[in-house]
Amino acid sequence: MRIKVAGVGLTKFGELWDKSLLDLGLEASLDAIKDSGIDKNTIDAVFVGNMLIGKIAGQDHLGPVISSSLGLNCASFRIEGACASGGLAVHLSLQGILAGTYKNVLVVGAEKMTDAPSSQITWALMGASSSKERKAGLTFPALYALMAQAHMQKYGTTREHLAHVSVKNHYHASLNKKAHYPYEITAEKVLNSSLISYPITLFDSSPITDGAGAVILSGDDSSKGVYITGSAVASDTIDLANRSSLTELKATQLAAKAALKQAGAEISDIKVCEVHDCFTIAEIMAMEDLGFCPKGEGGKYITKGHTRLGGKLPVNTSGGLKACGHPVGATGVKQIIEITEQLRKNAGSRQVKDANIGLTQNVGGTGATVVVHVLQI
């Protein structure tokens, strides 16, 4: 597979009260089109990754909302796969190019979350879980807290290990003007913040964020640039209770294996990585499931600084979901944009030296959907 990331556009992430979902989607789209240098009218499909707007604002049928506002009459789709909606939109658009149906596609990930009260967002997000989990009164912080407790019990992972994920991602966000929280925090701040569901504290959790990202993907591989060379999706039980293990995401392991195989790469080749740290435990498990460190060692691996800028494998240089923000449908697209900027050597003060191959991992729910992409120059 060799699909070019021809252009990228990303809005500021944050509480953007004066901007609608359409404002955000168009801003990112127009920036991506401009960055690609292509004529907008050569776009022959628009894929929009979004999870919540139908529930929150009653706006379904999002594909033509974006495409028509751009003055396009091409094919348009809205893709929903919980917090992996953005990654899924990228994956599906690639299939359209690979099939020869489309040549240039616009992929938009967009979410507008801060207009709704937190209780409504929490309810809407639980659409990504199972009916049994909803009936039990579980929410995502509680589900990830169960995984964290299991990980602590089985491998000796500590609350301090969790806190270091947050500290590291805030440091990276402090170098990213587009991040929701562009400032540093301490481990003490994380550990002393409000407890949401043991051991998950407020500062172990990604925020409710507005934002959008867009990429132009092209089947034209005649020029140099950043290419997606692997793209795979795997799924797992929607119920956490039906899994054989609470301490790993099987779908991450399967998707990573498939995407790396497509790219002809090994996990040890990866120089920079964006993973789905919706809660700090998720980044620890991602390190292990992707194969960067042995199972159970994720907390120590991160605490040693290996995944901080300057370490051997910088992870979530954007600030991740925790500190760059998590507009759920936009996250998977933002990850592609961050790795593209790293491979283009455009990441400024958060540039990873010698970055020539990167990986993204985008998770839906508690790992019922995982999308992994490999990007190379």
Partner: protein
């Protein structure tokens, strides 16, 4: 010149700590008071409401000068907790106080600024026939039990008698700034108000307070340093200090009227009690800046200047704000629970 002839406040004696409320609902207790800048809030008893608070404050306003309330020609009661949805608070308060019946009586509602809007409206009615008017802000502030707003929503009233003779402080100027900003609301038939979380900050409170303040400073050609004191609406202990800082006022100017840390936010009465507490200690010929804020949203800004009559008034005003703040009895959440059961007839 039109100004304040007398004023009085009423602060219920019961106090609860926000941490007690957090504890009652099983929420994070640590640091809640420091985070809000509110350490105690005043709680009305089960037999108190916006009417009784308004009456008490007005009696306290009449007392120092033995003011004859039958001289009042117009009354406004600003509140967002009027006991009746349809039936004016103002006529009930006027009836209890024995105000004359050749009276303009009207209720005002604009979240936390209805009281100060009464001062603006009534100041234009003073003439040879209507020599004195009465502007009241009174609230038994509403909040959804267990909501973060419950930590600060307090109870109190302030009553200002205005006239154009023998004033304690003159109203030099005022202005307002309003926009359609949905940061806090309660729809008809809904029991409890809702709010937009952090949206209540920059686009709401700060935008309106700073805009109304700057409009007035520009209009009066004055700057923050020209004032001895300043009072800003106090929804919590952080917002007014931040607004003051952004405008160029200093913490010392806010200090005498900074009542939120001890009584919470009694909505319509908040900035008016802050003004009263400032008048309690001010000297003659001093300028006081005041800016209220009401969600929904708007701010009224004022410039007052004290007169030599203020010192004599202060000596006679035994129920000043500080004396009422000190006269307190700490309670636990059981009285709050009784209030909820009583009000909502559970």
């Amino acid at each position: 010149m039109t100004g304040i002839v007398s004023y009085g406040t009423y602060i219920p004696k019961y106090r609860i700590k926000p941490s007690q409320i957090a504890h009652a609902w099983g929420k994070e207790v640590n640091e809640v008071e420091k985070a809000l800048g509110v350490f105690e809030k005043a709680v009305a008893s089960v037999d108190e409401d916006a009417v009784t608070l308004a009456v008490e404050a007005t009696l306290n306003a009449a007392m120092p000068l033995n003011f004859d309330l039958s001289k009042i020609g117009a009354i406004t009661v600003g509140s967002e907790s009027h006991p009746y949805a349809v039936k004016p608070t103002a006529t009930t308060v006027a009836g209890i106080l024995g105000l004359p019946e050749n009276l303009l009586a009207v209720d005002l509602e604009f979240a936390c600024k209805a009281g100060t809007s009464g001062i603006q409206l009534l100041s234009g009615l003073i003439n040879k026939d209507t020599k004195y008017v009465l502007a009241i802000g009174s609230d038994v502030a509403q909040s959804k039990p267990s909501d973060v707003l419950e930590y600060t929503a307090g109870s109190a009233a302030a009553s200002f008698i205005l006239g154009n003779k023998d004033t304690l402080a003159n109203i030099l100027d005022f202005t307002s700034y309003s926009s359609d900003t949905p940061d806090f609301w309660r729809r008809d038939t809904e029991k409890f108000p809702s709010h937009g979380g952090r949206f209540t900050g920059d686009p709401a409170y700060f935008n309106h307070v700073i805009s109304a303040s700057n409009l007035l400073l520009e209009k009066a050609k004055l700057k923050p340093a020209d004032f001895e004191f300043a009072v800003f609406h106090m929804p919590n202990g952080k917002f007014p200090k931040e607004a003051a800082k952004r405008l160029g006022f200093k913490d010392e100017q806010l200090k005498p009227g900074f009542i939120v840390s001890q009584i919470g936010n009694p909505y319509s009465a908040s900035s008016m009690i802050g003004l009263a507490a400032t008048l309690d200690i001010a000297n003659p010929k001093q300028k006081i800046f005041m800016c209220s804020y009401g969600s929904g949203a708007g701010s009224d800004s004022f410039i007052f200047e004290t007169t030599p009559l203020l010192k004599q008034f202060q000596k006679k005003n035994s129920k000043n704000v500080q004396s009422q703040i000190q006269n307190k009895q700490m309670i636990d959440y059981s009285l709050v629970a009784r209030n909820i059961i009583n009000k909502y007839r559970i």
